[in-house]
């Protein structure tokens, strides 16, 4: 039963990623696109964790943690650049 549930959640998160991609493509302003990209980072963490659950290996959490840190730092860096014109003042 768990396998079917995991595949169902895979489908839901893939649909969510497609909706984020749609917002990333049509987004009328730059903060919209940054927000869509940040959400895509978070959803890809969910995909990696589900894949690790399917494979039964706890090795994938390192990759998920790395992607979480990368997504946060890149979002804050781009926002800082748009806000102040410089990343590190």
């Amino acid at each position: 039963m768990l396998e079917q549930v995991i595949f169902l959640v895979f489908g839901m998160i893939s649909l969510a990623l497609l909706l984020n991609l749609w917002r990333l493509l049509i987004g009328p302003s730059l903060p919209d696109r940054i927000l869509a990209l940040d959400t895509m980072f978070i959803n890809s963490i969910a995909l990696i964790i589900l894949y690790g659950l399917l494979m039964g290996s706890p090795l994938y959490f390192e990759a998920a943690l790395l992607i979480a840190m990368l997504g946060f730092v890149s979002t804050v860096a781009v926002c800082k650049f748009l806000l102040r014109g410089d990343i590190i003042e």
Partner: protein, 133 residues
Amino acid sequence: MQNWMEWAVAFFLLLGGSFVLIGSIGLSRMPDFFMRLHGPTKATTLGMGGILLGSIFYFSLQQNVSVHELLITIFLLITAPISAHMLIKTALHHQLKAIERTRGERELQQGQQEGSPDTNKAMPEANKKSGES
């Protein structure tokens, strides 16, 4: 015992997946940016918490009790409000359009008047608008 844990894992995974999907639907369907920010910063973070909780249950069932997935949950719960704050400051700085039902015109105008004077190219327009009104 085994069956019960499997039901719990499936429940948490489905809960998390639904919240992630709802957050992304909100991101793609809401009318303006200030509403769009609500979906990913609240619903998606809660959905990630659900998925990671299911994963904690699953790996605690398989081997020893493992809680290092909790690290990702705590990290996401800490960083989501910070990135939302930075995004909303950027949106106020860029003077994004809000629909009429979005409240807080005063904050919008204050956000337009604040900001760094040296790098803000849109500042003269904002000053002109506030001077006219």
